[in-house]
């Protein structure tokens, strides 16, 4: 290939290169990537929120969904997450105490609602009456040792003074997703699931349910916390701010959660 002798000044030739660089820099001036661990029950709302967030901010968010217990154990053992959106308060608190979570970053991003639900659209009309009558084969709940929804289910039963009588009919899912599966496949007639699992567009989309009043159990507060590895990542801090903003809150409520 023949090299043409330079006919123009060096600056002239370099200009396109500089422009390209400039564009790259300007275009990505705040384009960062965040690695977030998210509780499984929050999967759907989180996906919706991230879509908007990425549009608005230009950042990229990578997520891992799982049971809070597993995510916690992974974080403790060095998983490269930069923030955790848990299903409870206990784990984020622990992380804070252990120095892995950034102090002051923890906040409640959603408050879960419990619903007594059945895949059968005619089954649940009067929730407490149904529970008292015992007219069901099994009651599916999340394992209270592992999931706050499970704890809340037990508290609700205790509030209704039905725990002892219903105990023989309990089946426990390892997490809220499995709990839901038991009911959805019909193997358990009814179960305590998260409202977000059965709500779409503001109402229960299939089956039948009784939304448990918030005063029957301790609130299912789902906390988020920034982890040590993410403290300098603007994508993370902006995401956390975004979660508390109007757009995100609307989505969260749409999926059946409450917010502070």
């Amino acid at each position: 290939m023949q090299v043409r002798p330079m006919q123009v000044s060096p600056m002239h030739a370099l200009r396109p290169v500089l422009v390209a660089f400039g564009l790259m820099v300007v275009g990505n001036v705040s384009a960062e990537e965040a690695q977030i661990a998210v509780a499984a029950n929050f999967t759907a709302p989180m996906r919706a929120i991230i879509e908007l967030f990425e549009e608005d901010s230009g950042h990229e968010v990578k997520t891992s969904y799982g049971s809070t217990g597993k995510l916690y154990a992974q974080i403790k053992n060095g998983a490269p997450f930069e923030a955790l959106l848990a299903a409870d308060q206990k784990r984020p608190e622990l992380l804070e105490e252990e120095g892995v979570g950034l102090p002051g970053s923890r906040f409640t991003y959603a408050i879960g609602t419990l619903v007594l639900w059945s895949a059968d659209p005619d089954k649940v009309e009067d929730g407490p009456a149904l529970l008292e009558s015992g007219d069901f084969n099994k009651l599916s709940i999340a394992n209270p040792k592992l999931a706050p929804y499970g704890e809340a289910s037990i508290e609700t039963l205790e509030a209704l003074e039905l725990k002892a009588s219903i105990e023989p009919k309990l089946v426990m899912g390892e997490n809220i997703a499995q709990t839901y599966q038991f009911v959805d496949t019909g193997n358990a007639d009814i179960g305590f699931v998260a409202l977000s699992q059965v709500m779409q567009g503001g109402e229960i989309s299939k089956g039948s349910g009784w939304v448990v009043p918030g005063d029957m159990h301790a609130p299912i507060r789902q906390d988020a916390v920034i982890l040590d590895s993410g403290k300098d990542n603007p994508a993370v801090t902006e995401l956390f701010a975004y979660l508390q903003g109007e757009k995100a809150q609307a989505i969260i409520q749409d999926f059946g959660y409450e917010t502070d």
Binding site: A73, N143, L146, E174, N187
Partner: protein, 225 residues
């Protein structure tokens, strides 16, 4: 007490599940292994593949399909309900059904290999000596295949003890009925009760190791002139 009462209950349940499953597998797996070893039908390949499926399927997949099939909307569930048995998920016998599927290849394959190993000749010899087909099976085939049966039994038992995915899907974690040791350990880990988890897991680990050690150390004299 090294282990809590619930732990001991979980272990007892696990052993019971493994024992019942293994016995059922002997009864169910032997004719299948025999047919696979001797048949020349074109169904040999497909049947063999179906038997081997649980080896490659993730247990959670198997468990999930069992949940749907055994449930009220599934074919088997409809049948059990019609027969008055009720539904199988969340029961001990539901776990047995799941475990039998899941450990089937561990029973069939060693036994099939054992049946194939001695070939046609001993059975032909037995026939010329007046033994009917059933007679030949019990007096020649079974004794010659015995090492295979032992291997199959031990493997099936140990495999069921370690089963987790299937139980998780259709068990429902009911103490004394479906809360087996593997699920219990998982719960401990999830609940951050690592001490309990270590203890119970340790017991299972030692047990499984001893079982396998027995299998691999015992070498029956396979050399026949």
């Amino acid at each position: 007490m090294f282990l809590s009462d619930t732990d001991l209950e979980a272990i007892a349940l696990t052993l019971r599940l493994a024992g019942v499953t293994t016995l059922i597998l002997f009864a169910l797996g032997t004719p299948i292994a025999w047919w696979l070893a001797r048949t020349r039908s074109r169904w040999k390949g497909p049947v063999g593949a179906v038997v081997a499926l649980p080896l490659v399927l993730p247990p959670s997949v198997l468990g999930f399909y069992l949940l749907v099939t055994l449930g009220p909307n599934g074919p088997v569930g409809a049948m059990t309900e019609a027969l008055g048995i009720g539904l199988l998920p969340f029961t001990f016998w539901g776990l047995v059904v799941g475990s039998v599927f899941y450990s089937l290849p561990f029973m069939v394959q060693p036994v099939q290999n054992a049946f194939e190993a001695f070939g046609e000749r001993p059975l032909e010899a037995a026939a010329t000596l007046g033994a009917s087909p059933l007679d030949r099976f019990f007096t020649v085939a079974l004794p010659l295949a015995l090492p295979g049966f032992v291997t199959a039994g031990i493997l099936s038992f140990a495999h069921t003890v370690g089963e987790f995915g299937v139980v998780l899907m259709i068990g429902g974690n009911i103490p004394g009925l479906t809360r087996v040791a593997s699920v219990q350990i998982y719960d401990y880990v999830e609940a951050l009760e690592y001490g309990n988890a270590h203890r119970l897991a340790g017991v299972l680990l030692v047990f499984s190791f001893l079982v396998l050690l027995a299998l691999y150390s015992w070498r029956p004299d396979r050399r026949r002139a």
